[in-house]
Symmetry: D2
Subunit: 345 residues, 4 copies
């Protein structure tokens, strides 16, 4: 249920509403927008309470919300969430690009790639230290060592960093070294991991399960939000369909749908979404035109020898740089901004 | 198999190659490009013939093609096919927009909508006279009468027309009244219909089956091409997945994939691809950014009372006009052109 | 809407009800069961008419049916449909097995296989004369000649015959030579073909579209029933999923679901449903245990050299015979009967 | 790679082979069958080593295995794995039935249901203490308390117990109280959980991810096996498809496929596989006919008021008991055995 109050409702009236709600043992979440204030309730609401709230000062309406997710829904929080990290704003009007290798392989590798990522105009360095692999005999990542290498490369090149965390046990150490924690597609419904991320203190990029509905996706985000962490990005990374030419089918409708249902920023991953280098460029542009707030793109200096064997979906550094220049042209046509260093100079 | 000859190979050498091929009872398809000439062979090629061809004058290489489709493949025909109909070029650098109602309901309805379609800047009027309906008790279209109404509206408003044909028996009459014949998603593998369209003398827009692979799609196009009709457009209109929020999942990767595998123009249908009016605008833009050569979009003056019940995916006239103005901005950022009448004046 | 009358309601009362319905321009379908009589109405029913019917003699209840299909639904026709063809009953308690090659290749081939099919205990000979092929350059079947060869083999070996018809134009000739006409998965929504089959005078086996829902499937059957042909069998033949190890995923839940929603016999096709010979035996048994009324199984004397390349899913004659012996054991455990010739002697 | 030795190869020769393999830093897994002995190697094998092994005493052949999973594959372990727990053998010729509620709700509930499960002839009590729920505000299970209640009910009624574990942290306590640990469909690729289960000392039932391929499924099992736990059961529980009438599509082909590719027992879950009570009975029978080694079936005394809201897929106690009587009839027709208590008396 939500209580709608006017934007000019005095703070004391809002407080009175919150108190009434909390006295009933429910949670109240206040979201102040430019044209109204929403107080969202979580918990089972008695009809009597709804009636009481409706008659309180400042209340314009009391509306039942049927969606199972609350904090993630735009009903509860009508304005876009903008996540600010060290000066980078995700979910505002500026495109955010996250680039880097599938896996952190060595200090030299991640340092070199970080330099190229920065030079191309991206704001975030991506790289996996803990890798989810289909079979137990494949390379499983460089672990904590890799985390540290990436943190150093990010710091040196003035880039935010994002890395995947696979199990609750490693949330704390990942949160120590990275700016953004990523939940992979196979872990979208790893509920103990989501609960732990609710209290980790760092923004989370949650990837959609490769066969998860929008509703399940937003409910997974709700686990993190309900734990107290409001900084969640939703990432479309392709769904599994009958088509085998592409690794996955990148579902770009997810972008406008999620933006309508939720206030959280939406990121697109055309690398996993297609699994083919030659499709990353057109699908990045399509993602932007569909309204994506950001992109996460694999780039590697030597993709044919990448340690995960995923190089086939990694751009070469030149392609990555050219693509970002194209985005600089495309962004304004879609009402967004994006700047590469060359443009600035 | 293809024979590659230099672009400057004299016509008589090309003719000699073709003669050798045809003497073996095979078909030869010549495609002259800007940097080389390709002679594609259809039929079972003996190794001896390949050897002989390799040594003929002008031949640079003889290459085996493993794909099951030939005429549809870019190997056979490296340059883009541009389909020209009364001054409209589909597959060249200009975006082509096809707009109109799901079904032709009356002369007045199609005339009014045609006027709006034209005014917004679209080049083609869409409208179904024969409607494929899930159940036998639903409205099945206005039939030949509807065909005639649409032809008149198209002529009056100087628009090309496109309409669906469902069975071989009706190909001739549809070809008499419409400029482009459309094969619906359920008929993509109606092989007798495809064969008949190979000889109909009109361009064909072939919609992808809602669960058909790219390979099956190109093989379906091959049926039409093999029948002698080179003017085929491929249309992505959404595939069936587990997600039920959208009517279909519009697979935009299909656009660059089909353009790499084939030389045929690729059209996107965001109306059926999403089934929700509010998603048509972002997905149209995403289609253009992904490289689509054209769009087919439902628009209706009274969508809530459309006779097919599909109004929920139809744009209102104002939305349609606004969208086309946005495309005018977007097209140059992606290397295409598109002009609305207001821009010209 | 349906009108429910008692089983002992005299014929004249039923006739009076039918007359009232038909006077309103609607169709009335009478289905007499063992415990009640159902009169199903097709067409748009005014509330007044419903009220009037409710008060007529013999009427126990008048119930609105929300499903879009009517004649196919168990609401309209509560008792199982049993299709009797020359002494073979499909949909009664006896399992019906249809066996034979993917395609009729020659008179000798179909004659030899027919002998083996008969000897193993099957009642129906299957074989394609017109073959739906993904690409235009593949073997397209032996056509009318093949039809005649199969009719002769069927007659000689005292087997019913079933063959696929792909386009309205060929319905009449197929109906002349075969006992059962089959609609392939790609044509499940070829509505003109379905309409033509409604008047063909022969039973029809309708295969489920490889990505069609149960609801779409029953609506497709409704087209045939609404045309006046009550003898329709529903065939589950596998759906398209993300799994590529099998050619399709045989959806055995379809069997009990369709039997609950409809009164039509349900046949299973484990050959196309799996695409792998080694899975045909277990999936045939599973189909029977799930309640299938019959099976359609590919068998070939030389599968490695079959002209369609589908031999990989064809049983060898010995496997086919052994499987039918196993069914003889399994059928009674599931409340059905099946007899092989060896058991009779 | 596998080394094949004759069944009569003396132990000392086998030991010599193992020593050579281990000296190269590889793992050797010996599987003695009735007609040959297989020594499976895990690790990267140099051609030289293969050559050396081929010439050792007792070696009949050295064969490269291309599958990414090793210990799970039938190549490594040709004979069926039979898991014996307190006298119950899973994977031998006797059907194993696991029955019980979706969630352990109270001591009284689980005790009553356990009595009914035992009386019907099942060998294992199922029940969830930790429940994976789509949203954070749903009932999340009774936790450790529930574990204890179920252990007591199992002991009292002489039933094995199976329960789901969701995160590595809880593996030890679940292993303390339950006889079999279950990995749910959403956790099939929770690799840290799988690793932890490799050392838990209890048999594991691994459910297939609802959109996971057979190959991914066997690789997930490989994680547990590679950790040192050989007692893994594979459970088909339905996959996600476009069909929405059923909760999932139970893929029964998985049963014979997994039994061909692997030696591990295969269990079917028709409750989650269909999500509809009325389909559980036919799909249980179909599972047995397809070759399942066991079944896991939801049963509840008051399904309409189940705490998880999953009651709609739970059988009533009478239906459960009747079904098990039917299995007693069906099992012998398929070469298996199953006995209900009534049959014994």
């Amino acid at each position: 249920m939500i209580v709608i109050a006017g934007v000019h409702t005095p703070e004391e009236h809002i407080q009175a509403i919150v108190e009434v709600i909390e006295k009933e043992g429910l949670q109240a979440h206040v979201s102040r927008g430019s044209d109204r204030t929403i107080i969202g309730l979580i918990g089972s609401v008695e009809p009597k309470l709804a009636e009481h709230l409706r008659q309180m000062k400042g209340v314009e309406d009391v509306v039942k919300i049927s969606k199972s997710y609350k904090l993630a829904s735009r009903d509860f929080h009508p304005e876009n969430t903008v996540i600010s990290i060290k000066g980078v704003n995700i979910g505002g009007g500026e495109l955010v690009v996250m680039g880097g290798p599938c896996a952190v392989e060595s200090a030299a590798q991640i340092d070199e790639i970080a330099g190229l990522v920065k030079a191309a105009g991206a704001q975030v360095l991506r790289g996996g230290a803990f890798k989810p692999r289909t079979g137990p005999y494949s390379f499983q990542g460089t672990g904590v060592e890799g985390l540290i290498m990436m943190a150093e490369a990010g710091q040196k090149h003035d880039l935010l960093t994002i890395t995947e965390v696979m199990t609750p046990e490693y949330v704390d150490i990942c949160a120590e070294y990275a700016d953004i924690l990523q939940v992979g597609t196979r872990n979208m419904q790893n509920f103990d991991l989501l609960r732990k991320l609710g209290t980790c203190g760092k923004p989370v990029l949650l990837k959609r399960g490769f066969s998860s509905t929008y509703d399940e996706f937003l409910n997974a985000a709700e686990y993190i939000l309900a734990g107290g962490n409001p900084n969640v990005m939703l990432c479309e990374r392709g769904i599994r369909t009958f088509e085998t030419y592409t690794r996955n089918t990148l579902d770009l409708s997810a972008i406008p749908v999620l933006q309508q249902l939720s206030h959280l920023p939406v990121i697109s991953d055309p690398s996993h979404g297609t699994g083919r280098r030659e499709l990353v460029v057109p699908m990045t542009k399509a993602s932007v035109a569909a309204g994506a707030d950001g992109l996460i793109i694999e780039m590697h200096t030597d993709p044919d020898n990448s340690m995960t064997g995923d190089g086939v979906q990694s751009l070469f550094p030149d392609q990555f740089a050219d693509l970002l220049k194209d985005l600089e042209l495309l962004a304004p046509a879609i009402g967004k901004t994006f700047h590469t260093p060359s443009a600035v100079s």
